[in-house]
Symmetry: C5
Subunit: 154 residues, 5 copies
């Protein structure tokens, strides 16, 4: 049975991890290992520990960077670290970041967050179990949390 | 027989992988291993897995970053990771990124994308089989997808 | 007994390390190993040495970047290095940076610094001993040094 | 006999590699191994392969980034990778980049390029064979391709 | 006896290495190994070679980035590499950079450079031999080359 790690933050304003676990559990019979860290910069090592010490096959790294310039830099540092962690383990970490300035209202932000997480959970499932589905979707302008942009034609 | 990996994204609005496979297959008798990931930040580990787990000799990493500032940052993170992956494997990964703001119309964007991929497929072929052709083109102001700028003279 | 490393700087204008040691000692029976380096760019290797040579289980890396553009870049370089150090050791380093332009007066800056350090000391304790408490706080909009933003609802 | 690697690009508008080979050959009895890659982002792994697979003692990595913002980012990514490659091999890679916006006319750009390459070829020779000459030039405000700025006095 | 490496550049306009060697020699009985490289981007591998091949315990990496935007980027790349080199060796490299735009006149620039180097030489000595002195100075707002800012009080 596949093992999927889920790590989120106490900084986020939505319990992102629970949504991820819910979507994964609804759709596949995987063991899900969850943990939570303070902020997005703590995600890379937490994800790597899930992959190496908890023997996960893949990890979802969930975060909600704030609106300030410094938050953008933190997100960049976290993303860089998440890519490094993947290269060190040869396993995918699917980053699901929702920036707090992506929505006008809290309600919209919640909805965007939920949609993006559920959508990326299916990316995880496909990468793990149905990689051919992703190949079929290549170039389809998929967006997670927003409406797909769709493909452009010749 | 050479093994070439091709990895593209579902985020892109053109099926970039199919164009790459087509151009490679038309020109060399290589085994092409293809996969697709959600976005450009997933390319580095996917490329590294193709090199190490699928035993590819070289990889084309294809992506189409969006128009927003955040997309530029994602592309930068992806490129940094692709360079790291190469240094960890001592194998080339040819990055083929087309930025969505490089063209005015969807039609132009499609054409630019196709041209750049086909052009870079020949770079892959040359790196693999005919490195001396690249030396002959050193300093020739080659551009992939645009008209070559050509060399400047003394 | 847990071993926690604490490293701070002579550049900072508050004796951050002493506050961290105080908060840790008040709350858990851990061995605390402390050292001090000149500036934030010296923190990554110092933290890594605490983890590897002093056998610490976790490290708090404390710094106070200045107000100039160059200070922001230094902080970014330090943060990047701290993430790398974590990935190389599979152990958490909790970064506690207070930017000198986060407060209007010296008094406020001192208070913010103290609050943030004490708050992050509890993150360290939870990561070490009570990880389930962090899961319970997932998505609660926790802030260290400022008032929590709290969760947003559906 | 020393082995020096030279790698340049087809993107550049000057055959930079040939100038480097010429200057090296005029001045030392070294074996020069040359290759060419498409663009500056392909230089790091090519340089590392010259150091590790072709057993070079040092490498000159030659590139000519374009004028656009994206070209500056590519150059930054390439430089970061070249530094990483050096740290992974404990050998020097001398980066010789000429930015296309450093000169007003094509003629000036050609001259600047040639001067900088020839000047850096001597840095390579000195690092390899006469490191004491570099110590003698410490703090002399040397510039490659422009007039030296010279030292400032107390 | 401690071994300290000193590496500086021919790009700088002050013979930074000689000042560092002088200050170290005046204060401790250490073996000092000196070398010089062309520019700041050559410092990381040179420092790592001093640590690994010359068996130094610590290194001072001295540079003087220019005033242009490109020089700031070079300094950032160099700093990132210096941090990486430290993480790969578990040894400190004390970076001493003086930006050419930090002073109004050449005379002031010289004085700032000399002060900063001598001041950082004492950081090296303390890190090597008297780490408890640095702990005593934690949070004291130390500045190298400028007047200390001093601590702020509650």
């Amino acid at each position: 049975m596949a093992r999927v790690g889920v790590v989120d933050t106490t900084f986020a304003r939505v319990d992102m991890g629970s949504i991820a676990v819910d979507e994964l559990k609804r759709n596949i019979a995987a063991t899900v290992v969850r943990c939570t860290v303070p902020g997005v910069k703590d995600l890379p090592v937490a994800a790597k520990k899930l992959l190496e010490e908890e023997d996960c096959d893949m990890v979802m790294a969930l975060g909600m960077p704030g609106m300030e310039e410094i938050d953008k830099i933190c997100a960049h540092e976290a993303s860089t670290g998440l890519i490094q962690a993947q290269l060190m383990t040869n396993k995918h970490i699917i980053e699901v970041f929702v920036h707090m300035d992506e929505a006008e209202t809290e309600k919209e932000l919640y909805q965007l967050t939920e949609n993006r997480i559920r959508s990326h959970a299916h990316n995880v499932i496909n990468l793990l179990l149905y990689p051919e589905r992703l190949v079929k979707d290549a170039g389809m302008g998929k967006r997670q949390g927003y409406r797909d942009e769709g493909p452009i034609r010749q």
